[in-house]
């Protein structure tokens, strides 16, 4: 299972890439493999305000469906529109072209609560 050292993670299996007061969020390689074939994703609307831990979208696979949570509070400034026609990008390339949402964060302190690669690895090893 691929876990990238330079990213942060949540217990809900989202990854976070930090970029000058903004974050890019997606779901981890582990999450996509647990869901298996993703067929549809409901994305949040651009411009809406989100709170840490709030469900902001849904990811639908052939046999199951899962909520997507905001990893941090802020404003959604961009969503990956490519996923509407090609949700399978999340399966193929979860950490790059399968990114989901870009958020301008409103409370940088929340960053401290995120997990690093090592801590996230322990979590998924516990689940397996």
């Amino acid at each position: 299972m691929k876990i990238l050292d330079e990213l942060f993670y949540t217990e809900d299996h989202e990854w976070i890439r930090q970029e000058n007061g903004e974050i890019i969020e997606g779901i981890t390689d582990y999450a996509q493999s647990e869901l298996s074939d993703i067929v549809y994703i409901e994305l949040p609307e651009k411009g809406i305000e989100v709170h840490k831990g709030e469900a902001i979208g849904t990811i639908e696979a052939v046999k199951t469906v899962s909520d997507l949570y905001a990893a941090l509070s802020g404003t959604v400034i961009e969503v990956n529109g490519e996923l509407e026609g090609h949700p399978e990008l999340i399966n193929k390339d979860p950490y790059d072209t399968g990114w989901i949402v870009r958020i301008k964060i409103s409370n940088p302190k929340e960053l401290e609560g995120l997990l690093d690669a090592e801590e996230y690895k322990e979590i998924i090893e516990g689940e397996e």
């Binding site: 549809y40 409901e42 469900a55 849904t58 639908e60 696979a61 046999k63 199951t64 469906v65 909520d67």
Partner: protein, 440 residues
């Protein structure tokens, strides 16, 4: 599947295997709740005796000439409908749980959905839900899920029984604003839509039978990105604009008039349709058509991830079933009649209703919402019976007529008002005799 009752010796054998007595198995039930005597039942009857008893009971039923409607209507049911639904392959009330094994059932569902889409002009139909009232309440619930807003605007022209179901569904969690009626129709100026509004909910034709100015309500809702939700009468679509043409977002109906007997109020059929963009929020089952790896056509339960057995707490609805036999009945009725037949039923229904309304008015009866020159109703209208609505109903029963619905209990201003409904089944003589009864 066959039902095989367990015999005394089999029961003893099973108890022997598990090494327990029957009393021990029931020991978890507190003693004061246990029934220690036999059930209070009359002695058993032979088949002949049972049949005679049932026939005797059946004879107590009265066949009435029906002028009552209010959502359930006395239309003619072609005999082919009953012939086909009674085939043992179809004769179950339930949606199949090992669905894909029953390809015929899934195909029937798919055909039903396709016909409902054609009838309504809407993008998507589910495989049906319980009845017209739950269909509308589920439609509202879906709109709440889709808009994530909290205020609902409901017309007072919605069937009062449906309003009760809606209020039960919504409990006290949402804000409800009622749009009052003005001269029997929903006042298009009687409400304001804001950016907290989930949607505007209207019934067309409304409970009093009158046609609503649907487009105005749809436009007002859409101007604030709220949804337009409509409860319709499927037969009326033979002559009226469809919900699809009216740009309605969610359209629901009671489907009983499509070939189902009135049978004391059920089982009936909830028709549920919506625009395509809501398909992932729809309640209930949806059958889809696909091909297998050899290219053969097959039917499957589609988009099950919407449903509660997969989505759990975040599902928009807890309905995971459909009214399979009733939906099949509606599909057969629509097949038997075809587009032309539905237009014919709708047109005869409305012409007869207008004939009766005119006769009553000419005889001096007051039709408060359909005064001279203003007769935009489909099949139902309100008439005031000064000698008393209950008295008229009693007199009617003596003549073998159900003269209408007494509106007295719903609203003070409807005291001694009857809601009268007509279908293509009512010949001129019956309508003329109704006038005589009301004039007694």
């Amino acid at each position: 599947m066959k039902f095989i009752p367990v015999t005394e010796s089999e029961r003893n054998e099973m108890l022997k295997v598990i090494g327990k007595g029957i009393e021990e198995l029931f020991s978890a039930i507190p003693d004061n709740l246990r029934l220690r005597s036999s059930l209070n039942l009359p002695p058993s009857l032979s088949e002949l005796e049972a049949r005679e008893k049932a026939v005797k009971l059946e004879k107590v039923n009265k066949e009435l000439v029906c002028f009552a409607g209010g959502g359930v209507y006395d239309h003619y049911i072609p005999s082919v409908v009953e012939h086909i639904i009674r085939r043992p392959e179809f004769y179950t009330a339930y949606t199949p749980y090992q669905a894909e094994v029953s390809q015929g059932t899934l195909q029937a569902m798919f055909e039903y959905q396709s016909m409902i889409c054609e009838l309504t002009g809407m993008d998507i139909s589910n495989a049906s839900i319980y009845d017209g009232a739950t269909a509308l309440a589920e439609g509202i619930y879906m709109a709440i899920g889709a808009t994530k807003r909290e205020k609902l605007i409901l017309s007072e022209g919605i069937n009062p029984r449906y309003l009760e179901v809606i209020k039960t569904y919504l409990a006290k969690r949402y804000q409800i604003e009622m749009i009052p009626l003005k001269e029997g129709v929903t006042n298009p100026k009687g409400f304001e839509v804001d950016d907290k509004t989930v949607g505007v909910v209207i019934q067309h034709p409304n409970y009093l039978g009158n046609l609503e100015e649907v487009s105005t309500f749809v436009e007002k809702a859409h101007a604030k990105d709220a949804l337009a939700i409509m409860s319709f009468d499927p037969i009326s679509l033979g002559i009226l604009k469809t919900p699809g043409e009216l740009d309605v977002d969610i359209a629901t109906a009671e489907g009983q008039s499509l070939g189902l007997p009135m049978s004391l109020g059920g089982p009936h059929l909830g028709i549920f349709t919506a625009k395509k963009k809501f398909v992932r929020k729809m309640p209930g089952r949806i059958s889809g058509k696909t091909i297998d790896h050899e290219g053969r056509i097959g039917y499957v339960m589609a988009l099950q991830t919407r449903e509660q057995h997969i989505r759990r707490a975040s599902a928009t609805s807890n309905i995971c079933t459909n009214q399979q036999l009733c939906a099949l009945t509606a599909a057969l009725y629509l097949t038997a009649l075809g587009g032309e037949g539905i237009r014919e039923v709708a047109s005869q229904t409305t012409q007869k209703a207008h004939y009766l309304a005119e006769r009553l008015e000419n005889a001096g009866f007051e039709l408060p919402y359909n005064k001279k020159g203003r007769k935009s109703f489909f099949r139902e209208f309100v008439v005031e019976v000064p000698s008393g609505a209950n008295r008229a109903i009693e007199l009617g029963l003596k003549e073998g007529y159900l003269v209408g619905i007494n509106l007295t209990d719903f609203k003070d201003e409807w005291k001694n008002h009857l809601l009268i409904s007509v279908t293509e089944k009512r010949p001129k003589e019956e309508m003329d005799h109704l006038l005589e009864i009301l004039s007694m």
